[in-house]
Amino acid sequence: MNYNLKIEKTEMLTEQIFFIRLKSEKIAKNAVPGQFVNIKCCDGLDAFLRRPISILRTDPREGTFDIVYMIRGKGTDILSQLKCGDYLDCMGPLGKGFTLPEKGEKVWVVGGGIGIFPLLFLLERSVDVYKASFLGFRAKDSIVLQNEYEKASDQITITTDDGSYGVHGLITKPFLERLEKEKPDRVYTCGPTPMIKSIAEICIERDIFCEVSMEQRMGCGIGACLVCACKIKHNDDYEYQHVCKDGPVFPAEKVIF
């Protein structure tokens, strides 16, 4: 098998955040929201393992899909040097995605930092539903894809940790405030562990359907090596399931943070 995909477009969204569009009929056709691709950032030893990156959205007609990533270390740094026309080795689509909402439901998505990326795909695939987006960023200069999320949502709330844009503080605040007034049918969340943990707890308390997308360091990316463990309730005990295969999306009430 050959996993080299042609890069159709690259864009620098901020100093740290980059966009890549890749050609793949297979992934464009089969990917569902919440799934990811596992990327070999370069030949050779410099970023030895593959890097998991969420599928931001697909375009089945064009046979392309998009990813957006933030520079964190060696691998993403190397990715940021890729140009249109280069090839990138991606395995995917991988993992279990979100449960799509039913017609007419009220959907709230809550994302923080790089956790917002899998949620756009979910919003775009959720049709005939009411969609509210709660997005938390570090600061104004780290806000990306605002237009896309506005287009994909009926209502959008943005917070920044430093108050440099939108509501000042954590995204959980406006989320809670709105919960006082109304109750969504489904909540989907992805982002820093403290954030998704509190969103999950809030929803469980109120008994609202909630799915969380988890992150964990990976090896094989397909369920064979068992390194990407996520602690999951199992009867009155727990077991380690695996983010790459059983996840990255899990029912909030199942996850032991």
Partner: protein, 301 residues
């Protein structure tokens, strides 16, 4: 050209084996390549009871390698026999059961159970660095290895391979102990104990603090140990440690191995086992080798 290899009663149609713990029970990779291509599959390390394994993170990337601390998460030997063997048997490839335990009695119980199961060989894992008691303890001394091996040997009805840890002063003593205790073969190396620290969080990257190093970084140590062991025992040696391509595999065979295992490289390239097999055939043709045995004896020193 003859790619077949015999390890005691164990017959491999080719010397390419999936390394234990990196390949699960074959289900996942079966969607990426035809498992019939493999000489054998060493399954995830089995214990008598199911094991949850260690908390995450369980993996850290290091220069040209990885650290893992899975800690033998597995469904237990019974679930393996019921659920996994039937799946694996669909393929024409040897099933090697990798066995870990905390006591000699437990090793024996498991080997008894597996002796009546439909598998082709048993790989005694006395070298797992990621569990507290047992296991590695036995593998770290010659006496420990000979105790476990001879005890197991009494109840074992399958070819017995002892998997050695590289975390010892003299690997040849360990191999000799296994040979003297009746092992049909030895496999090496398991992982080198290592550690990585996140200098910003100031915490070890692995929740388990230390983990096992594998991948290209360990290859020179593995080749050296295979060379030393092959020159000190008469039983077949299965070599592994960082193999990423056919050249690496040839290096291990030249060092004296009769077969090789590949693990970590598959994380990056799920076709690696097939590519190594095809590349090895090419190498043997180019150098006029007619059998694996010829390669294993071709080193010029």
């Amino acid at each position: 050209m003859d790619l077949s290899v015999n390890i005691g009663e164990l017959k491999l149609k080719n010397p390419i084996i999936a390394a234990s713990g990196t390949f699960g029970f074959g289900r996942e990779y079966s969607e990426y390549f035809d498992l019939n291509e493999l000489g054998g599959i060493s399954v995830k390390g089995l214990t008598l009871e199911p094991r949850k394994g260690n908390p995450p993170p369980r993996i850290a990337e290091t220069p040209a390698g990885i650290l893992n601390s899975v800690g033998l998460q597995n469904p237990g030997v019974h679930a393996f026999i019921e659920k996994e063997i039937p799946f694996l048997r669909q393929f024409d490839t040897a099933i090697i059961a990798n066995v870990a335990a905390n006591s000699i009695e437990e090793y024996c119980t498991m080997v008894e159970i597996l002796s009546d199961a439909d598998i082709d060989a048993i790989e005694l894992n006395v070298s797992c660095p990621n569990v507290q008691q047992g296991c590695l303890l036995f593998g770290s001394t010659a006496s420990g290895i000979s105790q476990v091996t001879s005890a197991v040997k009494k109840v074992c009805k399958k070819p017995l391979i002892v998997k050695l840890t590289p975390n010892v002063t003299d690997i040849t003593e360990m191999a000799k102990a296994a040979e003297d205790a009746g092992a049909e073969g030895v496999s090496l190396i398991n992982t080198l104990l290592g550690m990585a620290i996140d200098i910003n969080s100031r915490k070890p990257i692995l929740a388990n603090i230390t983990g096992g190093l594998s991948g290209p970084a360990v290859k020179p140590v593995a080749v050296r140990m295979v060379y030393q062991v092959a020159n000190s025992v008469k039983i077949p040696v299965i070599g592994m440690g960082g193999i990423c391509n056919a050249d690496d595999a040839a290096e291990f065979l030249l060092a004296g191995a009769c077969a090789i295992m590949i693990g970590t490289a598959g994380f990056v390239n799920p076709n690696v086992w097939v590519e190594v097999k095809d590349g090895l055939v090419q190498y043997m043709e180019n150098h006029g080798f007619k059998s694996i045995a010829e390669v294993s004896e071709a080193l010029i020193v």
